[in-house]
Symmetry: C2
Subunit: 188 residues, 2 copies
């Protein structure tokens, strides 16, 4: 999104990746709840303040890949691509390694309300994008009940597909398979 920096000022250290790695380790050793930001930054050899330089909250660590996909979806839609095409495109870009930490290790990390909430915040972003896209494509105003029901339905299908893909385990087919199946079910 913002990769263009014309090399002025102090260059970034490798902080971001180091923090991610340290966090992933600690979340496995202890749980998510049982790990403090202090511990993460200590293991990463970085100050606590730096953490918030890269992440706006602890739970952000768990949804990096999802956030990236959502940003890609937003870009595609902004460039004028149709909704279903955009979703298919982004789904095709998501590799099998992109299952978020939050879910793969939801057993070992005590999944608390905060986790659920942070995950749902992503769902809400998707729903908002879908809503805007459908409104634009159909030319409807954005206030109608029918439009919102339709948007929630499509967003729900996307989320359901993503969940099924995650739960598919190592034998999972590509995400785009699940997505197209789910979208077909709501494609009236």
């Amino acid at each position: 999104m913002n990769g263009e920096r014309v090399t002025v000022g102090r260059p970034r250290a490798s902080s971001r990746g180091t923090i991610e790695d340290a966090a992933a380790e600690l979340f496995l050793e202890q749980s998510y709840d049982g790990t403090t930001i202090d511990e993460i930054t200590q293991r990463a050899g970085v100050s606590r303040a730096t953490f918030f330089n890269y992440f706006s909250s602890k739970s952000d660590l768990l949804w990096m890949d999802a956030d990236h996909a959502i940003e890609r979806l937003e870009e595609c839609l902004a460039s004028g691509a149709p909704l279903f095409d955009s979703v298919a495109l982004v789904a095709a870009e998501v590799g099998p390694e992109r299952v978020p930490l939050a879910v793969t290790q939801s057993d070992v990390m005590g999944t608390r309300d905060e986790l659920v909430a942070s995950g749902l915040a992503r769902v809400a972003r998707v729903a908002a994008l879908v809503h805007a896209a459908i409104a634009a494509e159909t030319g409807q105003g954005r206030g109608g009940l029918a439009l919102t029901v339709r948007a929630n339905s499509v967003a729900g299908a996307i989320v359901a597909a993503w969940g099924a893909w995650i739960r598919g385990g190592v034998a999972r087919r590509p995400l785009s398979d699940y997505i197209s199946d789910a979208l077909a079910l709501v494609q009236l």
Copy 2:
């Protein structure tokens, strides 16, 4: 749910209602973010510890009515009533005063991520109930993609209806009108 208490032990003071009232006042005077639990309990003339005796988090204050409706839905479903009937029944019980604080005053209270998240947690509860109910009614196993897509779709419709009802302002029709409209849209 748990109203039956055979009057043993120290009786509850009027704490709960007092806290709710104090909170509602303060949220209007200042914002939600700008109000601390300390202030709420001070105005209510109650200790801070008592707050957590009645509410498990600050954001619970905003969703009391929604939580009540969700509990009613759960009860109806548990008693074996069909999903759509249960939803209609609970919707009919919801009076026009039941628009949650979180939404009516979302202008004056700086609606932050925490608020969105706490609201979405309720959506998730609804979705889970709907999912279980549909699984029971159709006899399907709970793992299938089609089932989840359908459940998310219905839950999304319920939420959309509830949102439209809220945004209807003082001129809103009964909630059950919005609900039946929305469910009709997903009643394939």
